[in-house]
């Protein structure tokens, strides 16, 4: 009896915590959605309202103008295309090259393995800001176009990341498969290509997903390398420096609408691949 009430109290406490946590995580989104449906006049209301309300009548009133403005905003539409190209290409490159490295690091025996593992681990923590000036100089001197610059330089963080995470996944594959294939006369590369790679397909999806999110969200390089070519800007750069079409004021309603639109793909990915993302993130950081 006593322990039963105790259990019930624990249960209630747990749910209180869950609700508080969910509220904390989601409220800023709710606020962004709320603001994205407000007209300029509604945004200027003081005190602000927790659902979009008409300024005069206080009736609930949703306004779609921000979404219309965003979807006719050339800079924003171009940014969606740019972001997709950059993040997509980076992901494919990082996966392709990183899978080679991950297989070597995870499964092959060779001299100098510990050293190479340390280098890759150190590179996953490499501060991009430290090489910003150097990369910027190279890119401007050689006249490399911004989109290509972003694709190449993003490998600085996505390549070590994919290599490291895939190393962890390759390590988990049983060595017997590898050995028996060799006994059957397959060369190590054939073993890798025809047996190991298909086995790691789920891991490739997970790692690719994380690399994609990282590249999609990158801001420092994108901002720097597109500073004189607005046409090449990616979503984070456009959202952070939103071009106002009408007024001198910061168009927060449109920014919120644009922010929500560019977050939706990520939120969908998170809900579909929740398990995999958690596995991939922790494989990269905790195991080793």
């Amino acid at each position: 009896m006593n322990s039963k009430t105790k259990q019930r109290i624990n249960r209630i406490l747990l749910w209180v915590l869950i609700v508080v946590m969910a509220f904390w995580m989601l409220f800023p989104f709710y606020w962004a959605i709320n603001s994205s449906f407000k007209s300029e006049a509604q945004l200027a209301m003081m005190p602000t309202t927790f659902v979009p309300r008409d300024a005069a009548t206080k009736e609930v009133s949703f306004n779609l103008r921000n979404y219309e403005a965003v979807f006719t905003n050339q800079a924003f539409l171009r940014a969606i295309v740019n972001s997709t190209i950059v993040a997509g290409t980076v992901t494919i490159l990082a996966l392709g090259v990183g899978a080679f490295a991950g297989f070597a690091l995870g499964k092959l025996r060779y001299r100098g393995k510990t050293g190479t593992l340390y280098i890759i681990l150190a590179m996953t923590m490499f501060p991009a800001i430290a090489v910003l000036t150097g990369l910027y100089a190279i890119i401007t001197n050689l006249g490399i176009p911004p989109i290509l610059s972003m694709i190449v330089t993003y490998l600085l963080f996505s390549l070590p990341f994919t290599a490291w995470v895939l190393t962890a996944f390759f390590k988990e594959l049983p060595t017997e498969i590898f050995q028996s294939a060799q006994v059957d006369g397959a060369s190590p590369f054939q073993t890798f290509y025809m047996i190991m790679l298909p086995l790691t397909a789920p891991a490739l999806v997970t790692t690719g997903l994380l690399a994609f999110i990282g590249a999609w969200n990158e801001y420092l390089f994108a901002l720097t390398f597109t500073s004189i070519s607005p046409d090449s800007r990616t979503l984070p750069v456009v959202i952070a420096n939103f071009p106002s079409q009408f007024s001198m004021q910061i168009p927060f309603g449109e920014i919120m609408a644009a922010g929500i639109i560019s977050s939706i793909p990520l939120i969908l990915l998170v809900f579909i691949f929740q398990r995999r993302i958690v596995a991939g993130l922790t494989a990269g950081a905790v195991k080793g």
């Binding site: 602000t48 800001i129 150097g134 490998l155 060369s187 959202i239």
Partner: protein
């Protein structure tokens, strides 16, 4: 197995390994090591980007300009009788202007901050107060966020590790702040922190009778850092929680059953079982997060612009706004060194090195 054959295989395997690693290492050499060396070299020059002035080697001048600091005592203001002037309202002693005591030759020092120690007023001066302030702010930001994220991340991890209906859904929800672009979340929070009652926080504070509804969260220096910390804690606690969650799941459940039998209450179990077992996980999470926090850029650049710098946003503005290639390179090198020191200290003091393979 024939001995010759197996060693042939081993050789073949080794050769393959080098071939497979080559592309990764060549790419990293080109986009990390070469630029890093060029940044290092540039930091000793007066290179100004896109200028026709010849590039000269200036030795450690950039570093001197970035890092020179001095501490001077500030004398109190004296009245005609030679007594210190005291403010009639607050009773506080009035001090001379700091400009008067800071050196002006050969380079000018400007005030970073003033402080009082044992009744003497001191001023900390620097040749580039913006950079010194950026370093200090970034370190404060990193320490505060990592600490808060560790505590809150632990709580969140314990919650989503518990058994309840909709656990998978909750785990997806905590991934959202982590997954969306920092550019988006920075703008969301900047809007919530508007300096009048169009902002969420000012409205709520005003309803609660706190403040006048016009708290300048993002322009008042006293509020800027706490605001940045709050935003980052929201955004990054999920990541911390996931790392901790992975560690929690490695702990075998029967340990807790044994502890239950022994009558240890949950709080004691947490401090005497969970925490010690999680030491390795927490250490790794701390390293990752601290290094991340020290190079914070997006948040500061988007929300505060040039009102207040982090180390990274300072470097960015020196390069893009002022075109000071040499100077921003020097500040890049300083960041690199600070980050490396933190990484080594952490790895050493928490024994990560021996755990890592």
């Amino acid at each position: 197995m024939a001995k010759a054959g197996s060693s042939d295989l081993a050789k073949q395997e080794q050769r393959l390994a080098y071939w497979l690693l080559a592309p990764t290492f060549i790419i990293l050499l080109t986009i990390a090591i070469y630029p890093l060396l060029s940044v290092f070299y540039n930091s000793f020059t007066n290179n100004v980007f896109a200028s026709s002035a010849p590039v000269e080697f200036v030795g450690i001048e950039n570093y001197q300009q970035l890092l020179s600091m001095t501490i001077k005592t500030v004398p109190p203001k004296l009245d005609d009788a030679g007594q210190p002037v005291v403010d009639a309202n607050t009773g506080a002693v009035q001090y001379e202007s700091a400009v008067a005591v800071l050196p002006r030759e050969p380079v000018r020092f400007r005030q970073v901050t003033q402080f009082n120690l044992f009744g003497t007023q001191f001023v900390l001066g620097a040749t580039d107060p913006n950079f010194i302030r950026a370093v200090w702010d970034t370190i404060v930001f990193a320490v505060a966020t990592v600490f808060l994220e560790l505590v809150l991340g632990m709580i969140v991890a314990l919650i989503v590790n518990a058994n309840f209906k909709g656990r998978g859904f909750m785990r997806a929800i905590i991934l959202i702040p982590w997954a969306i672009p920092t550019a988006v979340s920075s703008q969301m929070w900047a809007y919530m922190l508007q300096p009048n009652r169009t902002g969420f926080f000012n409205t709520v504070f005003w309803y609660l009778g706190l403040g006048n509804g016009e708290i300048p969260f993002l322009s008042d220096p006293a509020w800027q850092l706490p605001s940045m910390i709050m935003i980052d804690v929201w955004k990054t606690t999920p990541f911390m929680a996931l790392l901790i969650l992975a560690g929690l799941q490695l702990i075998p459940g029967d340990i807790y059953e044994a502890a239950d039998v022994d009558g240890a209450n949950p709080v004691r179990q947490f401090f005497q079982l969970t925490l010690p077992l999680m030491k390795g996980t927490i250490a790794v999470a701390l390293v990752f997060r601290t290094l991340d926090a020290l190079r914070v850029f997006d948040l500061f650049q988007i929300v505060l612009g040039q009102a207040r710098y982090s180390m990274a946003s300072f470097t960015y503005y020196q390069l893009i706004q002022n075109r000071q290639m040499g100077y921003s390179s020097a500040s890049s090198v300083v960041i690199f060194v600070v980050l490396s020191i933190f990484a080594v200290i952490y790895m050493r003091s928490l024994g990560v090195k021996s755990d890592e393979q």
